[in-house]
């Protein structure tokens, strides 16, 4: 009995004793993403790209060694917040970065910025954080969620495509996508269909779609849903019948699983592996060499996240206590981004180009690849920055 008590006491004391030495002469970055479960494939791509960025930086920022701590949010907001707390309070990180999901971001970012630490988001861009809840300590290297569907809406509007059939999963991001799309697309919408989150079979919806005989189809099906949808869309013989336009549905992670079913797919995006600039060519080339496949946009953003942090640390010459200086430096976006030159809006979200991409046949025997067709938006601002009170 006493023994048990002693063991417990020892265990607790041991946990506390794991405290790090207080004096730190390194840059500590906490990177939160999803590393377990089916969605871990995205997190893995992000982690690979972060590692590559640190390799390119020689694992040093302004001469200080970099320590990176990865955390798994399990796609759960409360776990994400818990991981953030651990990074802030136990590891005392200087930056928190990463975060794939809007709901996790909405829980994590206020925790980080509220604790007086800098947040560099590398995927989720929920409108709250671009608008009324913007924060001077929160930056994103990706996009505001609506920007991408806005680009598709603009493209389809300008191409004069009418009678569009719209589909998305029935959840918040699905509805955001449609709102973004409709902000720029003013033509007729035949029907809007919301499917169950995580649905695998779309045959019933595809039968309805065929019966409505639209001129074009616009969808948002991220991850596994997109793979099921695309395969069934082409299996149902709809590929030749109704042109398919999408956002966040076809990417370098899903192409290996859909192969030719992706051919001809049109997507809008701010980045593509074939973007011609030195930073991107170095990133894509080295990633391909190291992992034997091209990186995804999730990776590009995460790579940029590390580069943005590096630019801030260099600007203050490694004086991590100078947060004002680091914020001022990050606002300049003074680093070689994989997307080329871009600038930050007053809400710390990028003002950047958006392109129309098409899945075309790859080199013989290889998977299809995404190629830029045209620029849809030059220097596109998101639609929420006016709600952000921040001025600089």
């Amino acid at each position: 009995m006493l023994l048990h008590k002693a063991v417990l006491a020892g265990l607790v004391a041991g946990l506390f004793a794991a405290a790090p030495a207080l004096s730190q002469q390194k840059v500590k970055i906490g990177f939160i993403t999803t590393l377990s479960g089916p969605q871990g494939v995205i997190g893995n791509d992000m982690r690979n790209s972060v590692e590559l960025a640190l390799d390119h930086l020689g694992r040093k920022m302004a001469g200080l060694p970099v320590e990176i701590i990865y955390g798994d949010d399990q796609v759960k907001p409360d776990v994400g917040k818990q991981v953030a707390d651990e990074m802030l309070k136990k590891h005392q990180v200087n930056f928190v970065s990463g975060v794939i999901w809007s709901n996790v971001m909405l829980a994590v970012s206020p925790t980080v910025t509220g604790a007086g630490t800098l947040m560099v988001g590398t995927n989720a861009g929920p409108n709250q954080l671009a608008g009324k809840d913007c924060n001077e300590r929160h930056f994103t290297t990706s996009w505001q969620n609506d920007q991408t569907p806005e680009a598709m809406g603009k493209y389809m509007q300008e191409a004069g495509i009418n009678d569009v059939y719209v589909m998305a999963p029935n959840y918040a991001a699905g509805k955001d996508m449609l709102n973004g799309f409709k902000r720029y697309y003013k033509g007729r919408i035949v029907d809007e269909v919301f499917t169950r989150l995580g649905q695998t079979d779309y045959q019933a919806e595809l039968s309805q779609l065929r019966a409505k005989n639209p001129k074009a189809v616009f969808v948002f099906y991220p991850g596994g849903m997109g793979i099921s949808f695309l395969r069934q869309y082409s299996e149902a013989g709809l590929r030749g019948q109704f042109p398919l336009y999408s956002v966040y549905t076809v990417d370098e992670l899903s192409i290996p699983a859909v192969k030719h079913a992706a051919l001809g797919q049109l997507e809008t995006r701010y980045w593509s592996p074939d973007l011609k600039n030195p930073a991107n060519q170095k990133f894509v080339g080295d990633y391909q060499k190291k992992h034997g496949r091209p990186p995804s946009f999730y990776g590009a953003q995460s790579y940029d996240g590390m580069m943005l942090i590096d630019s801030a640390v260099r600007a203050v010459k490694g004086n991590l206590a100078d947060q004002k200086g680091m914020i001022a430096a990050m606002r300049k976006a003074d680093f070689n981004s994989t997307r080329g030159k871009f600038s930050y809006n007053t809400n710390h979200h990028p003002i950047q180009n958006f392109y129309l991409l098409k899945a075309v046949a790859g080199p013989s025997g290889k998977d299809p690849v995404m190629e830029i067709q045209k620029t849809v938006f030059a220097n596109h601002r998101d639609s929420f920055y006016k709600e952000c009170a921040m001025k600089w």
């Binding site: 089916p38 045959q203 039968s207 192969k259």
Partner: protein, 304 residues
């Protein structure tokens, strides 16, 4: 009208997929009284093995045969190593241990094939469409799923009703101790039935591979629907599993297709837009609650 027929076919196709999963699960429930949450994992194993063997051998038929044998082996191995000791335990232990097995299987697959979805090909000769009636072209592969599913249902019916094995299965479902007392090797029977059920789940996974995303965790997406099927149909009954699967398949499909337009005729379009999809995704659970409230043992209970 054509559209309604097409949607009924869609419902049928979803129904037979659910049936293949449900058949094994309901037998294992009925005979061994085992709640196996990891049944979805065997579906995933089937899909991965079929993809792998098709790629390795270049023959779809051979790939399917090897994958079936492989899933059977994995099922039997799981039974021998982990599940055998669970038969005499209560449902709680079974739920938790098989919940643990889900994690183990998903992560094992992720270790072997990575977390990304993999490409599962469909042979040339199974692509394309068949003109069933004027204006109704239906994908060939989906028709094949319906045919295979119904054939398996018929074969199962034959095995259960007409053969000695079937007699033992029926006897086992209604009175386990009696079967054991009659000197039947009950351990062997259990292993056979479990392997059999695993192979059926594998078959569902094999057929799902070319049209759904093959990735770790794919089994859990269908698992809960399959539980609904079994509970609606009545546990331990093949007939119940078939009826339950077809009912759930049709209700789910028709709900997704027609609930919103139907609601739009009785309320405002915007209310229908908001409520339709939400209600459609809850429909099968609602169905199950209603069935259980009226008939707590399901529609075709095998035990009084």
């Amino acid at each position: 009208m054509i559209l309604i027929i097409e949607q009924i076919l869609n419902g049928l196709q979803l129904g037979v997929m659910l049936f293949l999963m449900a058949a094994g699960l309901t037998l294992v429930f009925g005979i061994m009284n085992l709640v196996n949450l990891a049944h979805g994992a065997l579906y995933m194993v089937g899909a991965y093995l079929a993809t792998y063997f098709f790629q390795a051998t270049g023959s779809f038929v051979l790939g399917v045969a090897l994958a079936l044998a492989g899933t059977l082996a994995v099922g039997i191995l799981t039974e021998l190593v982990a599940l055998r000791t669970l038969y005499e335990r209560d449902h709680l232990d079974q739920v938790l241990a098989t919940f643990g097995l889900i994690l183990i299987f998903n992560e094992l697959i992720a270790m072997l094939w990575g977390r990304a979805a993999i490409y599962s090909a469909l042979p040339e000769y199974l692509q394309g469409h068949l003109e069933i009636a004027a204006g109704l072209r239906y994908p060939l592969y989906r028709l094949l799923i319906i045919v295979v599913g119904l054939a398996v249902a018929a074969a199962l019916w034959y095995v259960v009703v007409r053969t000695r094995l079937g007699m033992l299965i029926r006897a086992g479902a209604s009175n386990r101790t009696m079967v054991a007392a009659l000197g039947i090797n009950i351990r062997l029977l259990y292993t056979v039935v479990f392997g059999f059920g695993a192979a059926l789940a594998g078959l569902a996974g094999i057929m799902a591979g070319p049209i759904y995303a093959v990735q770790p965790g794919m089994g859990e997406l269908v698992l809960i629907q399959v539980f609904v099927v079994i509970v609606v149909g009545g546990i331990g009954s093949i007939r119940g599993a078939l009826a339950g699967a077809l009912i759930v398949g049709l209700v789910d499909t028709l709900g997704r297709a027609f609930l919103k337009p139907f609601l739009a005729t009785v309320t405002t379009p915007s209310a229908a837009d908001a409520a339709g999809p939400a209600l459609a995704s809850m429909l099968i659970y609602l169905l199950m609650a209603v069935v259980l409230a009226l008939r707590p043992e399901g529609l075709f209970a095998s035990r009084g």
